[in-house]
């Protein structure tokens, strides 16, 4: 796709945005969030937009359709799509373009599909509405596209409802929908962020394949540079609505010039030194735990697992592997069907309500989404102070002193933060507050449930470093639930790989990460995007499902190995 630079230069670009300025509304006032960005996109070219949250990448992606979200407005610059000035175009004219010549693929396919209609009905809507195809021709085309996107049973899958297919399939069905009118331009807004790595690689391959087959231009938005490097010919690095650096994918990844780009490339480089195997009795011993939700099938099947003192055990697996359920069992939210938990030599009561306050204090949890884990109507003083009152009976000045110490421990300036509400904090700061709240209880074990997955990469890295420092200082143990191998490499002592409610491999970090792997571990590890150009093509070729191949992805209905 990176070929043809010279011929492209002679043709008029498909899309040019010059001096693009966009304002967003906050507290009934308008602030500029995109400060004069220039974008040029040629036919058949894939442009990657990368940056942290708040960089303005989604806003710019939508502006390419002449659209601004509610609460945003286009205030300056020209947007010219194939000779048409989009900002000046009437609403009717814009509507004719959207869906037909410019299409959009959203981050969450589950939220973007109407759950009350079948996939193929939603596919046919745009081509029939734009009078590109008849209904029957559109359905035939849908079946063809479903096949090209390597969806299972392409002839019939369209006649299912959104909830009847998996997340990765739904995302591919949305790509098919975007292709329905054979648009000149597709805007992909983080299309694989919500997916597991093993699913992500399939969706990426499918997207890359159809975009190449139909020579469609695309804007690919992501916060993950490794993913963008696989998809894009050219990359723009954005920050706070400004352009940091622009260049070919190769030059950005291999020869970054700006400091910020270099930092993005260097994320997750810190490593915890390998720990000595310890002989002492583990802090938590999970013995033969099996569990299920109400009348559903078993989600956990005889799990045996030890967590040592001052150790970090990473639990890895795809969604549905039961790793979060295991956390619920340990906290007592879901009493297990069989098995028992031995904490510090004593058996823990299965149900939360039967555990004494002291044992509740010693096991704390940090949630995935700091946004929903903090009560929006409580100041930090109260959030962090409540466990102090509740467990240790601290009140008044003593309590405030302790809250300030805790804030300092999580590297937040006490004077600036103690009276803030969660709404006045950034994502990383919120997660630090959650850590401070967990520390307030002075626990022995902290369960970290995907604590960095909602954070930008640079912020996530700093939070991981903080957690590591706290472990060194305080000697807590972590049960670290994640699907992200970069995190696992950085922080774990031991790794437990879970698949469909069972442990498929467990051991010290280096044992698990070094070959030979268990087949499933190998699949997981090889699906993690690497910061190398051409990684995707090479990986797919190695698995024998390269572009154009009709082969299905690996069969994952049964546990491998």
């Amino acid at each position: 796709m990176a070929s043809g630079e010279s011929t492209r230069g002679e043709r008029a670009p498909l899309l040019t945005m010059t001096g693009l300025r966009i304002e967003g509304q906050a507290d009934e006032e308008w602030h500029e969030i995109v400060h004069g960005i220039d974008v040029v996109l040629h036919r058949g070219e894939v442009l990657g937009l990368i940056g942290e949250s708040g960089a303005g990448k989604s806003t710019i992606g939508l502006a390419a359709m002449g659209y601004a979200r509610p609460g945003c407005r286009l205030t300056g610059g020209d947007i010219v799509f194939d000779g048409i000035e989009l900002r000046a175009a009437s609403r009717g004219r814009q509507r004719l373009l959207r869906g037909a010549r410019i299409a959009y693929v959203a981050q969450s396919a589950a939220a973007a599909f109407n759950p009350a209609h079948r996939l193929i009905d939603q596919f046919s809507e745009a081509p029939v509405h734009h009078r590109v195809k008849s209904r029957s021709a559109a359905e035939a085309d849908a079946r063809d596209l479903y096949g090209r996107l390597r969806l299972p049973e392409p002839e019939t899958i369209g006649y299912r409802y959104p909830h009847q297919v998996s997340g990765g399939q739904l995302q591919r069905a949305m790509v098919a929908m975007a292709m329905a009118c054979r648009p000149d331009l597709i805007v992909f807004d983080e299309p694989t962020t919500a997916l597991d790595v093993t699913t992500q690689i399939e969706v990426l391959a499918a997207i890359k394949d159809v975009v190449r087959q139909f020579d469609t231009a695309a804007i690919y938005i992501s916060h993950d540079l490794a993913v963008v490097a696989q998809m894009a010919d050219r990359i723009m690095v954005l920050r706070h609505g400004n352009l940091v650096e622009e260049g070919t994918a190769d030059s950005i990844v291999n020869r970054p010039e700006q400091d910020y780009t270099q930092r993005l490339l260097a994320v997750r480089t810190f490593r915890k030194p390998a720990a000595e195997p310890s002989a002492e009795e583990p802090l938590l011993r999970i013995e033969g735990i099996s569990a299920r939700y109400r009348r559903s099938a078993r989600v956990l099947e005889s799990i045996d697992l030890d967590i040592g003192r001052q150790r970090t055990v990473a639990i890895v697996g795809e969604s549905g592997s039961g790793k979060s359920t295991l956390a619920r069992v340990v906290t007592g939210l879901l009493p297990p069907e069989e098995g028992r938990l031995v904490f510090d030599g004593a058996v823990l009561a299965p149900a939360l309500a039967r555990r004494p306050r002291e044992s509740l204090r010693r096991v704390q949890m940090i949630h995935q989404m700091p946004d929903t884990a903090l009560n929006p109507r409580q100041r930090m003083r109260e959030v962090v102070g409540r466990p102090l009152t509740f467990y240790s009976g601290l009140r008044g000045r003593k309590r405030t002193e302790r809250v300030r110490e805790l804030l300092q421990m999580v590297e937040l300036e006490p004077d600036a933060f103690i009276d803030r509400y969660p709404g006045e904090l950034s994502g990383g700061q919120k997660q630090r507050m959650c850590i401070a709240r967990a520390l307030a209880a002075e626990p022995d074990l902290i369960i970290c449930d995907e604590v960095t997955s909602a954070l930008d990469q640079l912020v996530a890295e700093r939070v991981l470093q903080l957690l590591q420092r706290l472990q060194d200082d305080l000697g807590v143990s972590y049960m670290f639930i994640t699907h992200d191998f970069a995190t696992v490499r950085a922080i774990s002592d031991e790794i437990v790989v879970m698949f469909q409610g069972r442990i498929v491999e467990q051991g010290a970090r280096n044992e698990v990460l070094e070959p030979p792997h268990h087949a499933y571990t190998d699949l997981l590890l090889s699906s993690v995007p690497e910061m190398k150009i051409g990684w995707l093509d090479r990986t797919l070729a190695r698995r024998g499902q390269g572009p154009g191949s009709d082969k299905e992805g690996p069969d994952r209905s049964a546990p491998p190995g």
Binding site: H367, M369, N375
Partner: protein, 276 residues
């Protein structure tokens, strides 16, 4: 205080109008006795005297000053309606939050009982009970509050259901917090915006129900002044082309509109809806 002022400065004209009306009514209710020379049920002239300098809005069917009765009526009707609404919210919110936090069997029991109460038409149910137990003010307040709390329960439960699934409630549960703390500190503050808006609307409905009951003779009893019964007592005047009996009805309408303007504004603010 400064926040409130700046909020007021940004408010639309409709909300200001609503606030003005409500404050005027509250002022009348509080300072009623100082605003008028006559007593609440004092007979000061002949029946149905026309408007004039002595009796600004004339007299009613027994020769009592109409304006005085209107002012006292504000006092009684608004006061009773307010207490009733507060009581309804107390019952409805506690039951709703309990149902949402505890779930399971408790929720089923409360919800089905609530359904039974809601299945019977409110006005007829109120008439029935008041006929049986009599029509003193405390009984009136309790009966209407219980009947109205069914609607509050529905809303409080629905709002709280969305809150109890949040991680911060799970954090509180994991900490071992009791039921009362979860309801008061985790659920209530986050459920407040829609509940406050609903409070305004409920207040209007209670107030209308109260007036309707009074009009039917089962509400606030004479000689206590009340807008609903004032409409009924003076209704005959309408046939003579005198619109004085419309005035208490208009007072009811005006207050309802005022409260609704404020509620709309609050809802708009808390829901984060933007124009256009």
């Amino acid at each position: 205080m400064r926040d409130a002022l700046s909020l007021l400065r940004k408010s639309p004209w409709s909300a200001r109008f609503g606030l003005f009306i409500v404050f005027a009514y509250v002022f009348m209710a509080v300072f009623g006795p100082l605003l008028t020379p006559y007593g609440e049920s004092e007979i000061v002239g002949f029946e149905y005297e026309p408007w004039g300098p002595e009796f600004l809005l004339g007299t009613d069917n027994l020769g009592r000053d109409m304006l005085t009765r209107l002012i006292y009526g504000a006092r009684n009707t608004i006061g009773i309606a307010f207490i009733t609404t507060v009581l309804a919210f107390l019952i409805g919110c506690v039951a709703g939050f309990l149902a949402a936090v505890l779930g399971g069997w408790t929720e089923q029991a409360i919800s089905r009982f609530n359904d039974i109460l809601m299945a019977i038409p409110q006005l007829i149910f109120a008439l029935l009970i008041l006929t049986i137990v009599g029509t003193s003010v405390p009984v009136l307040v309790v009966v209407i509050a219980v009947l109205d709390s069914t609607r509050v329960y529905r809303l409080a439960r629905a709002v709280a259901m969305n809150i109890v699934v949040m991680d911060y409630v799970e954090v509180a549960r994991l900490r071992g917090e009791g039921l009362w703390w979860i309801m008061r500190s985790e659920v209530l503050p986050n459920a407040l915006p829609p509940l406050v808006a609903e409070f305004g609307l409920r207040f209007c409905f209670v107030f209308l129900l109260l007036s309707a009951l009074s009009f039917l003779g089962l509400g606030i009893q004479p000689p206590t002044a009340d807008w609903g019964s004032m409409v009924r007592d003076n209704a005959t005047l309408i046939t003579f082309g005198d619109f004085t009996p419309i005035l208490p009805a208009a007072s009811i309408a005006l207050l309802t509109i005022g409260v609704n303007f404020i509620v709309d504004w609050l809802l708009h603010k808390t829901s984060g809806l933007k124009d256009g």
